[in-house]
């Protein structure tokens, strides 16, 4: 677990803004209707913990957050915060304003007509804190985010990073029991992101706020989350700690996220046959399936580019492929076939391979992948279960 920063600012006792905050556990087992598919997720975040939700665009991540925030209704299931029931489909719906569940997304969404201080005071004032009390909380937060001198500034006078810092202060000043983080750093440039990242980490640790993080970046999950869910078409397809997810992905998307190459084909009993969809060579990538697979079933071969060797001569387990793209990255040469299989080799090896010149698209070599993991395809598993023979 990499949460928090041991060397960072430590809690300064019961500050005005933190009084009465009790970390709580979030339980949600929800089904939300969407135009294209239902989003069906079970998520449990321990008190003060963080669960990351990963997935493609449109996988249902933001819909899940909207359901937790209370802006879209549940079709089935319930949401519970500690011993408080926030929602039970068709029976109970606590409005967003009373949930103590606060949103922080990639856009700061500061109120443009209010000053920086008024933005931060918005939550405390909405919760019924008096003018004096909320300006004390606000002053405290302005100090904490290093913008004490900009209290009277309008949001558009601040830089993007400063705006996001104000948004973070505004979110925490509302003393949320759960913070919903929707790619909170995605819109920041490389210069301002590290500072905002550290601030967010420090505040999450200091306040012990339970959080749900939606992200595309496995590195964000590494930093904050104790547990990850991978969403695809509204369903949880993989679930593990960030470390496990990286080392042993169980879903093609997780594998892509973790930097593996994924080649899709059909299972022939000993390997994945590269069918037309996978580049149409008919070659077989030998590998071990994660779970028993029927012969002929669609399967995904997962390979790390550094585990693929390339040579001019055939050897057991090698596949004969045309190089489609050649690229370089950090002193390595990457040779890729259109099926997705990529070999990462040193420039010296590349020169030897192509007999003194750099490999070019169109060259034909033997690719030997070591340690191929074979994952089943969700759709095929379902059709097999329904008794359809392939």
């Amino acid at each position: 677990m990499t949460r928090g920063a041991p060397g960072g600012p430590q809690p300064t006792g019961a500050r005005a803004g933190e009084r009465g905050r009790v970390p709580v556990t979030l339980h949600a087992d929800v089904t939300v209707e969407r135009a294209d598919f239902d989003v069906q997720v079970r998520i449990e975040v321990p008190r003060g913990g963080c669960v990351a939700v990963l997935g493609h665009n449109g996988a249902g991540k933001s819909t899940l957050l909207a359901a937790l925030a209370g802006t879209v209704p549940l079709r089935a299931g319930e949401i519970r915060l500690g011993d408080r029931l926030l929602e039970r489909a068709g029976a109970l719906h606590v409005p967003p304003a009373r949930r103590r569940v606060t949103l922080l997304d990639q856009k700061p969404r500061l109120f443009p007509h209010l000053t920086v201080a008024q933005n931060i005071a918005f939550g405390p004032r909405s919760l019924g804190l008096g003018r004096r009390e909320s300006s004390r909380v606000t002053a405290d937060w302005l100090e904490r985010i290093g913008l004490a001198g900009r209290a009277g500034a309008r949001p558009h006078e601040l830089s993007g990073g400063q705006q996001q810092r104000v948004a973070i202060a505004r979110a925490f000043a509302a003393r949320p029991q759960v913070l919903l983080l929707d790619e909170p750093l995605a819109a920041l440039d490389a210069e301002s992101a590290p500072l905002v990242r550290r601030m967010l980490s420090d505040e999450l640790a200091r306040t012990g706020t339970t959080s749900v993080l939606v992200t595309h970046e496995l590195s964000d999950a590494w930093q904050w989350a104790d547990h990850c869910l991978v969403l695809d078409h509204g369903r949880v397809v993989d679930e593990a700690s960030p470390a496990q997810l990286t080392a042993h992905p169980r879903h093609p998307f997780t594998a892509t996220l973790a930097g593996y190459d994924v080649v899709t084909g059909t299972w022939d009993g000993s390997g994945v046959v590269m069918t037309d969809a996978a580049g149409g060579t008919g070659a077989v990538l030998p590998g071990a399936p994660l779970s028993p697979l029927a012969v002929g079933a669609t399967a995904h071969a997962v390979v790390a580019p550094r585990d693929v060797t390339v040579s001019r001569t055939a050897s057991p387990g090698a596949v004969h492929l045309t190089v489609d793209t050649v690229s370089t990255r950090a002193g390595t040469v990457r040779l890729a076939h259109r099926c997705g299989l990529t070999a990462e080799i040193s420039p010296q090896d590349a020169l030897v391979l192509a007999e003194g010149r750099m490999p070019r698209p169109g060259d034909l070599f033997w690719f030997t992948p070591r340690s191929v993991r074979v994952l089943p395809d969700e759709g095929t598993t379902a059709s097999l279960a329904a008794g359809i023979q392939v």
Partner: protein, 270 residues
């Protein structure tokens, strides 16, 4: 800014001829009007008792109509902007019809509803003896009827553009629906609200057709500036000189409104 600099390359020359024609159609009548103004007697024409009466009545009724429009139209605009796609389409159509309708037809419609023998007017008259048409209140109703769509459509567009992101954040920070509306939604569309209100007032003060039919043309009660101008050319009421002076006043106020709106929008907070 120059007229000829165009990032997409030169415009076809033939385009300028009809463009100049359009501009002439819009501007030349105004030039004609201004040429008819007798500047030496302008003060006297404008401040003649009859002209002053029409001016006072116009400003008062248009201000009332605008207030009514803001009170009723802002909530309607919010409802339309946050309605489902289909609901919004239906509501928007209902709002747009009076906008496209000839004002005369609007006046007739108002009479058919609120007149002494109208759908609602008849039972009200029989019960209380009160009849709305041909009163100053009728002028306000007629003006509100024709100008309300301008306000609603302008504000609704602004609401749609500003989206719901800020509102969702505000709610998640603990603000109830009323607080979200008054502290976030309305301030965010303030430029649209001001623009809509100004357009609404401009439309109300120039209203003629619906007022003529529904409220009549009685001096001091329902004879607003546009009606006074019309009447003058029928040889009654204010003099023609006064009519021209009043027209000039309406023209100047229109120019001030358009110019003011432009600079205000440029200064408005983003």
């Amino acid at each position: 800014m120059t007229l000829t600099h165009h990032p997409g390359g030169a415009l076809p020359r033939g385009l300028y001829v009809p463009a100049i024609g359009a501009l002439a159609l819009l501007v030349l009548p105004i030039v004609g009007l201004v040429s008819r103004v007798r500047w030496s007697t302008l003060g006297g024409d404008l401040f003649s008792a009859a002209a002053l009466e029409a001016l006072r009545l116009s400003v008062a009724t248009a201000a009332c109509a605008t207030a009514v429009c803001v009170l009723l139209g802002l909530p309607l605009a919010v409802v339309i902007a946050r309605a489902s796609t289909r609901g919004a389409a239906v509501l928007r159509t209902l709002v747009l019809v009076p906008l496209v309708l000839p004002p005369m037809v609007g006046g007739l419609a108002l009479l058919s509803l609120l007149g002494r023998s109208g759908l609602v007017g008849k039972p009200v008259f029989e019960a209380t003896g009160f009849s709305l048409p041909y009163t100053t209140a009728a002028v306000v109703v007629a003006q509100a009827f024709v100008s309300l769509p301008f306000l609603v459509i302008t504000i609704e567009g602004a609401l749609r553009t500003s989206g719901t992101g800020h509102e969702q954040v505000a709610a998640s920070l603990g603000a109830g629906p009323w607080r979200v509306l008054t502290r976030v939604t309305v301030p965010l569309v303030l430029p649209g609200l001001v623009a809509g209100t100004v357009l609404c007032f401009a439309r109300a003060i120039g209203e003629f057709g619906a007022t003529a039919l529904f409220a009549g043309n009685s001096p001091g009660v329902t004879r607003t500036m546009p009606l006074a101008i019309y009447t003058a050319f029928n040889g009654v009421g204010v003099t023609q000189e006064s009519a021209v002076a009043l027209s000039l006043l309406l023209l100047v106020s229109a120019a001030v409104i358009v110019g003011g709106l432009r600079s205000w929008r440029q200064d408005a907070v983003r």
